[in-house]
Structures are given as structure tokens and as C-alpha cells.
């Protein structure tokens, strides 16, 4: 399997993001800290075969987010996300 075929998108981590943020996040907007591109989280590149989950910018492929889950804990590195924007939810 090539890297291209392993690439998923943000839809695939809707459940994981919901665990962390406790709300629907795939339609929220993330700003890439590297290139400034703004995309719905559903549009980001996602690799789940790495140790943990790696999320990359669809415009410049810089790492936006890394999530590792294990032994009952989460490690969430969001260095690559400058801003997250989402609607208030009732």
C-alpha cells in the first residue's frame, strides 16, 4: 500500500475528535500555523498507521496535529494549528 492509499481525511477522526473535544468537530475550521490555509477539519489529511494519529494540512502538508492515545491517557500536540473556529452548539 502506498502513502497515497493510506491517506484518509478528517472524517475518519470524527469519533476521536469527539472524544477529545466532546463535540462534533469535523465541520469546524482549522488554520494551519505554517501556511495559514483555513480548512474544515473534515478536509485535512489523516494518517492513522503512524504510532498515533497524524493530521496534516491539505494545502502545505505541514503537521497540524498529533494524537496519541494509550494506557488510559491522551497526548494531543496542536502546535501546527494556529486557530480553531467552530459554531456554538446548543
Amino acid at each position: 500500500m502506498t502513502m497515497d492509499e493510506m491517506r484518509l481525511d478528517g472524517n475518519a477522526i470524527g469519533g476521536l475528535l469527539r472524544e477529545i473535544f466532546a463535540m462534533e468537530m469535523t465541520s469546524s475550521l482549522g488554520t494551519c500555523a505554517h501556511c495559514g490555509a483555513v480548512n474544515e477539519l473534515a478536509r485535512v489529511q489523516v494518517y492513522v498507521h503512524a504510532p498515533g494519529t497524524v493530521v496534516r494540512c491539505p494545502a502545505c502538508e505541514a503537521v497540524l496535529m498529533r494524537v496519541v492515545r494509550g494506557r488510559g491517557r491522551y497526548w494531543v500536540d496542536m502546535t501546527g494549528v494556529r486557530c480553531l473556529e467552530f459554531a456554538e452548539q446548543a
Partner: protein, 249 residues
Amino acid sequence: MTSRGPLAWQFGTLADIVQETPRVASLYFDIPEWHGHLAGQHVDVRLTAEDGYVAERSYSIASPPEDPRVALTVERLDDGEVSPYLVGELRLGDRVELRGPIGGFFVWRVGDDRPLFLIGGGSGVVPLMAMLRHRGRMRSKTPARLLYSSRTLADIIYRAELDSLATAGDGLEVYHTLTREKPDGWKGFTRRVDQAMMQEVAWPKEQMPAVFICGPTTFVEASASLLVAMGYPPAAIKTERFGATGGSA
């Protein structure tokens, strides 16, 4: 159908099985704490082995929001960790751990009156079918087109139901393409999705269609690129990639 708060894992009970193709089955679950869903959403399924090993996969919901039962249409991947259990091992009355509905981006609701253009590769047709079933059930007349790529005639999921939806005269057109077979008398396309096919099937971009593309990653990206090359605004194209499936559609 709140999109706020954590989603609990719960057990769904298998209530019905419909074999769609030799490798694909629809599994109908009764789920006690189900608060509705939108067409295009998915659920996560979790299997736990006796030694504690956990495998988790996402499956698109095939049933429309109007149905009380939640249907997942699952393709059996021979080297898969989860699908060979779901399609082949699971029996009526068995329970499976799942959570959902998940997602708020790749969804379509009746009331969005833009022409609808759905493009599916292989089992990528599943969330698109939820949209078409929702559209049909709500007696929507929103113009809709489905371009559906399968390997062979026998691999077409929901073939009879799609035929019937397309002859209802409510503004749905279904276009099939087969990538590995040219059956006698076949009137559909017999090649991979390409520029000429898109030109023939896609709504003119001036009609501002809503586009949903789902399938293997390479299929989704190739299809989206063709539409962008035709001048479709990328923001109007919603995509869902499910990676590789052991062979492209």
C-alpha cells in the same frame, strides 16, 4: 441528534442481514440509545478480542434518518481485522459495540435545493445511498445525479434499488461505470472516471451543484481533481476517503 457531549459506546443488536453482493452485506441494527442521524454520517465499530486487543473501524450509515433501524453496509476485506467478522461471522441477535452518529461535514439534508451530484467508488456509495434514500423518503424533487463506479456488474451494491429509484421520475439520474468488465448489452460506461465522463454526467458548474464524493482515496482525489479542472469551486466539493480496500473500484 445532539452533536454536543461525548458519545458513549453502546451495543447494537443485529436484527437483519441483506447480502448485497458476494462480498458486501447490509447489517441492520437495533440500537437502544439512538437519537437519530443525518444522511452521510458514520458510526465507529469496536471489536474486543478475548485477550483485550481492540480493533476499531468506521462504517457509513446506509439507512435514511427516517428509518428506526440503523443499517451499515460493509464490504468484506479478506485481510481486514473487523469486516470479515461483521460479514460472515456475525449472526442475527448478536451484539456489536458501536458509537454514533459521527460527522457533520459529509452530510446532506432535504431542503438543500442545489442540484446534487454524488460520485461513489465501490462501497463509497454507502453514505450516498443514505442521501438518496432520505431524498426519496422525503419525496424531494431536488435534481440529483449519481455516478457510481464498480469493478463488475456483480459488484454493484443496491443495483435493484438504484434502478427503482431512478425510474421513479422524481429527478434522479443514475450513471454506472464498470472498470473491470464489459458485459453484453451493458449500456453504462466501462472505464475509470475520466474528463469526458465527467463532462457528460456533471451538472454545469453554473448550476452551483452540491457535490459529495466517497470511495477509495485515489478514486476520490482523481474525481475531485477532474471537477476542479472543470471549474467547480473546491468548497462545493465534499469528499470522504476510506483509504485502500485491497483493489480500486
